[in-house]
């Protein structure tokens, strides 16, 4: 049986009294940022879609394939042992990032979508039955909506939704009413990928538990941006994607409490997830491997471990301070520099992550994004996989700027300047 232990890493010291992040210095760690696009410095403002990767992560992928590549948990030889040690060591690093004590509670997946589907299939198919209620919110990414629709259709269960206010905050009073329906599960996003709203996850989890529900939190936009302590939050399931958290694509995480994981049936069947296989039945492996059938993306998960260390070295408190500053700056500068711009989401940076959706009246967000690209500014345009939220706010689409540790105030100035060009071109 494989045990999970971390290879020795340099122990980091606690950041003294929250010195601000030096984004300019951090940028030097991200090789991709050192390029020009259409004759301008690349201004990457789409980190909510996927983050860029620090050199340490890129180097880890390279080193893994050059030196350690072998299948995990199989070979009795040096390479396989190194690959396994790296793969399992990464679990410990991610456990530390989330303040999880037992790394066996960290399940590797491909992304947040797979993590949530795992819960919907494995836990959901066992525990949800006809007439049961699952509470979601109006601001969910499709990844935390469609798996529950599939489950509800199959089981004839009911979905209820916590509505939002016009500035994108969850109606906690309505949540209290919905809890009287005695839901089996409450699933909500920690931070909205479209509006940036930071939800009061601890408080919501406590109330959901008091009503007898389990809680799943979609942390795809939280883990990369702010301190996440799953013990303090107290939820039952917590999901995120590695690629938005400075890690490689193909890396993802589901955390869940051990008792839940042990009681859940496997998600997929195959190699690695079994202890003993007979022709007509099998015994499952222990957690986490019970949920990791088949050869995983070993390099990606190792890379995610390195990304987790990188984030912890930066200091998640400092990263949050940095993004709070950027949001405040953007909410202040954009309306002044770009008269007429429409901004959405909560205007209080205290409850808002590094996500700024906007529209220029008279200009479709696709066109705004296309013109911004001429100036090297990369923003996302569309519905950001939150169609029901756009419908609720009566918006066809929005453009969205989103931040990371390497984002600077200069980047926001470049966005403002680009948007002035958009307005000039379209005569609005």
């Amino acid at each position: 049986m494989t045990t999970i232990e971390e290879r020795p890493v340099a122990t980091e010291t606690e950041a003294p009294a929250r010195a601000p992040l030096d984004a300019a210095a951090i940028r030097a760690d991200f090789p991709i940022l050192d390029q020009s696009v259409n004759g301008h410095r690349l201004v990457y403002l789409d980190s909510a879609a996927t983050s860029q990767k620090p050199r340490a992560v890129i180097d880890a992928l390279d080193a893994y394939y050059r030196q350690d590549n072998a299948n995990v948990h199989r070979g009795i030889y040096a390479l396989s042992e190194r690959a396994t040690a790296g793969y399992e060591g990464a679990r410990v690093k991610v456990a530390k990032l989330l303040n999880v004590n037992d790394p066996h509670e960290i399940i590797w997946t491909r992304n947040a979508t797979e993590s949530i589907n795992l819960v919907a299939y494995s836990w959901g198919r066992k525990h949800i039955s006809r007439g049961d209620v699952i509470v979601l919110t109006e601001m969910e990414h499709h990844a935390n909506l469609v798996p529950w629709q599939l489950l509800a259709q199959e089981k004839d269960a009911d979905l209820e939704f916590i509505p939002i206010t016009d500035d994108g905050v969850l109606r906690q009073d309505v949540f209290d009413v919905l809890l009287r329906l005695k839901p089996k599960l409450v699933a909500f996003t920690h931070v909205s990928n479209t509006l940036g709203t930071i939800n009061p996850v601890e408080d919501m989890t406590r109330r959901a538990h008091e009503a007898g529900a389990l809680v799943l939190i979609d942390g795809a936009q939280a883990v990369p941006h702010l301190p996440v302590d799953v013990q303090a939050i107290g939820a039952d399931f917590y999901a995120f994607s590695g690629h938005k958290a400075l890690g490689p694509t193909g890396s993802g995480v589901l955390w869940a409490r051990r008792e839940l994981l042990e009681a859940m049936p496997p998600f997929m069947g195959g190699g690695d997830m079994i202890r003993e296989v007979h022709l007509r039945r099998s015994d499952w492996n222990d957690i986490p491997w019970k949920f990791e059938a088949g050869t995983p993306d070993i390099a990606a998960q190792i890379g995610l471990g390195v990304a987790a260390d990188y984030l912890r070295d930066l200091g998640m408190d400092r990263l949050r301070d940095h993004e709070r500053d950027l949001v405040g700056y953007a909410l202040d500068v954009l309306p002044r520099e770009v008269p007429g711009i429409d901004l959405y989401g909560p205007m209080d940076p205290e409850i808002r992550g590094g996500v700024v959706p906007f529209n220029i009246p008279g200009v479709h967000p696709h066109d705004a994004a296309q013109v911004l690209d001429r100036f090297g500014v990369a923003v996302r345009a569309g519905h950001h996989c939150t169609m029901p939220l756009h419908e609720r706010l009566d918006l066809g689409a929005t453009a969205r700027a989103s931040f990371q540790c390497y984002t600077t105030r200069d980047d926001i100035d470049a966005l403002a300047n680009g948007l002035k060009e958009v307005q000039r071109l379209f005569g609005v």
């Binding site: 569309g382 066809g396 071109l425 005569g427």
Partner: protein, 131 residues
Amino acid sequence: MDDLYRDYILEHYRRPHNFGVLETPTATYEGSNPLCGDRITMQLDVEDGVVREVGFTGRGCAISQASASLLTDEIKGKPLADVSSFAATDVLDLLGIEISPARLKCAMLSFDALQHLLDELGAKPLANDPA
């Protein structure tokens, strides 16, 4: 400065031709681009095998609105047989600008709606993937 946002494209975007709802449509189709949430409703009024009137409504980017405006201008007054022979590349010719792969769906939103209308009218069966 721009190859994409030429003056005539922006002009069609701001004041699209044939924008509106028909009083006596023969066929109506509502299409959307799931990638960006853009929608278009297109209507044809066909009499004696000829497109008498065409109208569209909806919201979209400059490329999708300009292409709808240009396309509806092009087919108005034409026999269905001629409209049926109109191909996707003809829409690109009408637009007269370089369309990147990412914007092709925008440019083709109205053409796609037209293909559904032609199918409904029995003038041209729908290909498997009209876009």
